[in-house]
Point group: C2
């Protein structure tokens, strides 16, 4: 096969493949750890780059700066994965909605989706054109990582993106999107269709550009009823899992799904065919593992607020999460949500070191325990 030499090269040059092994539920020496928003405001060097960029959008849209902040936490902590620095709302921005971020106010769309005509007007962006800056960032980061650790690419879930697209930004009560959901479900499905196609193209472009793992963030799936979750979020997550390229240049591309507040639907998420399910801190990993068995790997799930504790206490809390998962393969340590801006960087160091140190006994017998 034509791709064989590239595959060999890539595997040969990935010095730390703990994440990929854990995603395949293969034995590892220690539990791999990375953190949602590991590149972010809690790091002074991030804040400096953000200031230099002038705006959050400019930071996302300048590949050199996006690469720089992606690498910042890796220079400090022995993390087992990099995650592309970007924002889930770049996709609706590329669909023509006009994204901006005002300080303290969060994201704003200049042209939110309010009618069928608005939906019919939405293009499926060509990622290598309208989102070229993201793909260039992916290529640059892969080059800079030089095979040390894998790079995770990501997108927002169609439901989560649609929420922002319809509300026009963040929302407290989700009046517009829920009104649509309950009153005009066909119109909402029409929107979710085009967003899903855009997300699939976007994720495929990321893996083609070099992302070795793909993660879908369903930040707002947890605000739905069980029925609405299945119909308006899970169905589209499942379509993404079924549709994205799972082999790129001979390498398999694992997919991680994360619905915040989705603990009740863990089995359904696992049944999509994804490789791993992200779990927030409102469920013990022991219960999560009991429920999904060895069908998928599990990613999580320390309370992000645990990073407000003293460093030695953080070690104890990490130990508890490791014990909850127990022995065997298939655990990727993470927080249950992103690192908060007010966390001290030394707490993140304490956590990463504790996970590597304290997880050794769970991998002493390298068997793929179920």
């Amino acid at each position: 096969m034509l791709n064989k030499p590239i595959q060999v090269l890539m595997i040969a040059t990935l010095h730390n493949d703990r994440l990929l092994r854990a995603l395949r539920r293969q034995p590892v020496d220690v539990t791999p750890v990375w953190l949602m928003r590991q590149a972010g405001r809690y790091l002074p060097e991030y804040r400096a780059t953000r200031t230099r960029a002038g705006s959050f959008m400019r930071l996302c849209q300048t590949p050199e700066l996006a690469c720089e902040v992606t690498l910042q936490p890796l220079a400090r902590f022995p993390l087992d994965a990099a995650i592309l620095f970007s924002d889930i709302l770049t996709v609706p921005d590329a669909m023509g909605l006009g994204l901006s971020f005002s300080d303290g106010e969060g994201p704003q769309f200049a042209r939110p989706v309010r009618s069928v005509a608005d939906i019919e007007r939405l293009p499926i962006p060509d990622p290598e054109t309208e989102l070229r800056y993201v793909m260039d960032a992916v290529r640059l980061i892969r080059q800079e990582l030089n095979g040390r650790i894998p790079l995770i690419g990501f997108a927002g879930s169609p439901w989560t993106l649609a929420t922002y697209m319809v509300e026009g930004g963040s929302s407290k009560d989700y009046a517009r999107i829920k009104g649509l959901l309950y009153d005009q479900p066909a119109m909402l499905h029409q929107l979710l269709e085009v967003v899903t196609e855009s997300v699939i193209a976007y994720l495929n472009a990321q893996s083609a550009a070099g992302a070795q793992v793909l993660m879908v963030f369903d930040t707002w799936g947890g605000i739905l009823t069980p029925r609405a979750y299945r119909e308006f979020s899970l169905a589209y997550l499942a379509r993404i899992v079924a549709s994205v390229n799972r082999q790129v240049e001979g390498q398999s591309i694992p997919v991680i799904l994360f619905t915040k507040g989705g603990g009740a639907w863990l089995e359904d998420i696992a049944a999509t065919g994804c490789d791993a399910v992200g779990v927030d801190w409102t469920m013990d990993l022991s219960e999560a593992r009991r429920r999904v068995g060895d069908r998928v790997a599990l990613q999580g799930n320390l309370d992000p607020a645990a990073l407000y504790a003293a460093p030695e206490r953080i070690g104890e809390l990490a130990a508890q999460t490791l014990a909850d998962f127990g022995s065997g393969a298939g655990h990727i340590f993470n927080l249950g949500h992103g690192v908060q801006p007010s966390v001290e960087p030394d707490r993140v160091r304490a956590l990463v070191d504790a996970v590597h140190e304290l997880s050794k006994p769970y991998h002493a017998n390298p068997v793929d325990a179920g």
Copy 2:
């Protein structure tokens, strides 16, 4: 017994006892319905009274005005219960923290709890002195209701109150209270002890003043890990259930517990000995009922955002919630959280009417189905 004549009088004068019957899981003609925040900003007459009061605190602290807004939704809709108009933060205010509400900013405490000394200084307020305005409102409302429907009194859960007391107001990341929880759990327990004693005294005073049902709102229990929920919220909810007077003047006082986002812990909440468990919209009532059987009544759980739908659609959604619970006694219809300020009052009418009309078939055979 001395209280016998009063008991007879009270029962005789309660014209609509659906709520009390449903709480006891006794047969009813139709499913009783009331709504969290049924008295509130979505009603123009509430906004007028609020303006007249000058401030939200003045509204809470003036028994005549609190009574007036309590009764407003009852004049519009055939609701099966009244709920005292007040705020959960009146208790920490009476403990000396200095509560104020700034428009758009939410609650603020002038003297948040930050040290052991702060905790040691906290009194257990005498409800008939420091919270006399609440008790006067309860007495006035009972008088005005004149036995038409029962009056629900309420308090915030100790964990939820402690969250505001330590953060000093609303919070996005709960950095201070979670820091305390993870770093200084003994100090947090010390705070929860005094808050729990204050809440018990407050609830007992409400039932003595005439509240016929008591509800505890654990608004922030759902931000905890399962371990932390059991230790820092559920344990104190259980203490309240075990400690409040359950018989007042010969009448039993049912207790409803509601942890928003607490679906995963339903069995544990039911096991406290409460009479009913509130369920938010992220779980189907069919599953909730399967899990708690006939141990408790269930209160809920329509998505509050369903009230953004057209009136006829609201009927369909109410029908679904009724069908989820199914036949038999023990269901109190409610939203999964409060009525949102931007809801049109006619939607609330559509809901209340639909519940009464569409629930009849579920009570056609008045047996206490489990």
